[in-house]
């Protein structure tokens, strides 16, 4: 589904990704871990298409198509979703209206009619139940005055509504208490299928108890320096990142 080869990316002449190789197939869950500043969030935003980053070298392919020239919204239309670490507040636009806009813009791009109102309502009801979201919440302005947990839950609600093929969850666990974490993880697990894939970016192994990865990668200094299975995440939790850094140095 996603193939990244020798990807180098920089911002303001500062190189951040220094040769990433990653392959994600349908049905898989990948976790990307690593210390602060290793390039995890950059990798997420580069896949989603942020224009600030310059791709110096390498390839990103999604379902056989080169992503290089595609705008973020075009990538979204193809089924790439990024759950933000810091979602943006949009005063005056309710969660419901925002989702209507997002879904209909995607449908428009695919040459489809707008989703009929009753269908939309049904979808909203179904997905908000999945994430245990109160109806009142849906009429609030998007992210405005939301707690950290509400913002993250709302991100996963958007993911549920948009049904992406590839979902990238950037530090979705930060700022969540244990109950919220369980609800969010439960939502992600229910949305998982053999046709879609998830990349979980996280600092801590905590979230991976709930969303169990097939593969774990360690990103350090712009490169994936170690890959393994879920046991690697436990090892990192116990021993920290220093031993990885030392391994790299050797």
């Amino acid at each position: 589904m996603l193939k990244i080869k020798d990807l180098h990316a920089s911002v303001d002449d500062k190189s951040i990704l220094k040769g990433i190789n990653l392959e994600v197939n349908a049905g898989e869950v990948h976790a990307i871990m690593g210390p602060n500043g290793s390039g995890k969030s950059t990798l997420a935003t580069v896949i989603a298409g942020k224009e600030d980053y310059e791709i110096e070298r390498g390839e990103i392919e999604f379902e056989g198509e080169d992503l290089h020239e595609l705008a973020p919204e075009e990538r979204a239309h193809k089924g790439i979703f990024l759950s933000f670490q810091y979602p943006v507040e949009i005063p005056g636009v309710s969660v419901t209206n925002f989702m209507k806009t997002a879904i209909n813009e995607t449908r428009k791009a695919k040459g489809l009619e707008e989703m009929p109102a009753n269908e939309m309502l049904k979808l909203i009801r179904e997905k908000s139940e999945l994430l245990e979201i109160d109806r009142k919440f849906l009429s609030r302005s998007l992210n405005e005055g939301f707690s950290g947990g509400e913002k993250k839950r709302n991100e996963i609600f958007q993911m549920a509504m948009l049904e992406p093929k590839l979902a990238i969850l950037d530090e979705t666990d930060s700022g969540l208490d244990i109950d919220a974490l369980r609800i969010v993880a439960n939502g992600v697990n229910k949305l998982k299928s053999k046709d879609n894939a998830v990349i979980v970016i996280t600092h801590y192994q905590r979230l991976l108890d709930y969303i169990v990865p097939d593969f774990v990668h360690v990103l350090y200094n712009g490169k994936i320096v170690k890959s393994g299975t879920k046991e690697l995440a436990h090892e990192l939790e116990e021993k920290g990142y220093d031993w990885i850094k030392e391994e790299v140095l050797q």
Binding site: H77, I80, I90, G92, V93, K100, T106, A109
Partner: protein
Amino acid sequence: MELKDKLISSFLAFENHVDVDSKIHDIRSEAIKTFEQEGFPTKKVEAWKYTSLNALLKTDFSVFPKQENALEFSEVKKYFLHDIDTYKIVFIDGKYSSYLSQTTHDGMDICLMSAALNKPKYRVIVENYFNKIAEKDSLSSLNTAFAKEGAYIHIPRNKMVEKPIQIIHFSTGNESALMLQPRNLIIVDENSHVQIIERHQSLTDNPVLTNSVTEIFTAKRGIVDYYKIQNDNENASLIDNTFINQKQESIASVHTFSFGGKLTRNNLNFYQNGERIDSTLKGITIIGNKQHVDHSTLVHHKQPNCESHQDYKGIFAESATGVFNGKVVVDKIAQKINAYQANNNILVDDKATINTKPQLEIFADDVKCSHGCTVGQLDDDALFYLKTRGIHEKEAKALLMYAFANNVLASVKIPELKQRINKLIANKLGVNIGFNL
């Protein structure tokens, strides 16, 4: 002939049509002298540093239209707030249209300035209020000199006016260029409440220049909500001079929505003559091309324990220019006041300009005055967020601009008007986002 000379010589002709023996006419005669001495303001005047009338004054405006035009409601329905019942005071090329209007004398007067000026029963009240708070600057004086028609609204005490009042001025292009000078007088007595919507609309591309004066008197505990919709076409210019006198515990708000017009100058002046007064001045400006919108506000705190809130948002595209000059004066005795002022702007294109200037003159020592102005661009991170949800660039920008201006809309108290403004904003931003913003 220059417009100034033309106006002065027109005054003689004007005198043939009004009662020259009235006290009001003494005021007119005084006013034309002021205008004759001062002329139109130039950029040398501090208050007009960023707004030039020069280009506009080259147009050969007619001062009195030669022929009268009629309009069918269906032709102009879209300019009305028509989904709710309202009083309407409608003018076509400066002349009252009884056909399009709905006025009343039932327990209150919602009618015409010409009636108030001519009928003996209004004489005392008109003499008490007319031109009492309008500044004696050249443009207000020019309007005073030719004051003859406009809206006259008098709400007696303890009256809640159930329906909003719409004051609408249409110009039909019956002259190749037309100058209009409407004059409104609004008196709200103790404990009364009124909502007013004002709009100027040119129906052709022929140039129009409107120099309007509105005087509003709010008595003790009176409430006035005033909404100005400025969405005129690109050959229409407006100089709006509005003066609001507030007595104790009154609440007055003016919302100005500036989405169109060639040149728009809003001189909005609040005078607080009492304690525990609340004044609100808010505006959203969204313009492009070579449009120009200037908000020059004054809040004069003359008594203690009052509040004023100013919040102006501007979005300027292409070569549009904006001006915000917000003056707050706090007299020495006006202790414990709270004056808040904010002016936030987004420049969408490199050629767009905003000149923003807070001007605080504070003579009291125990007051809270805050002001802030910002000029920026749309936030790239926010734009990226919306795009990753599949929203196209144009629509994403529109959503962000809408969000930026939103808190000004939040205080609009007539839901149908809010809905209408939302549609105007969506139109102005060129988007159709599947729901009414």
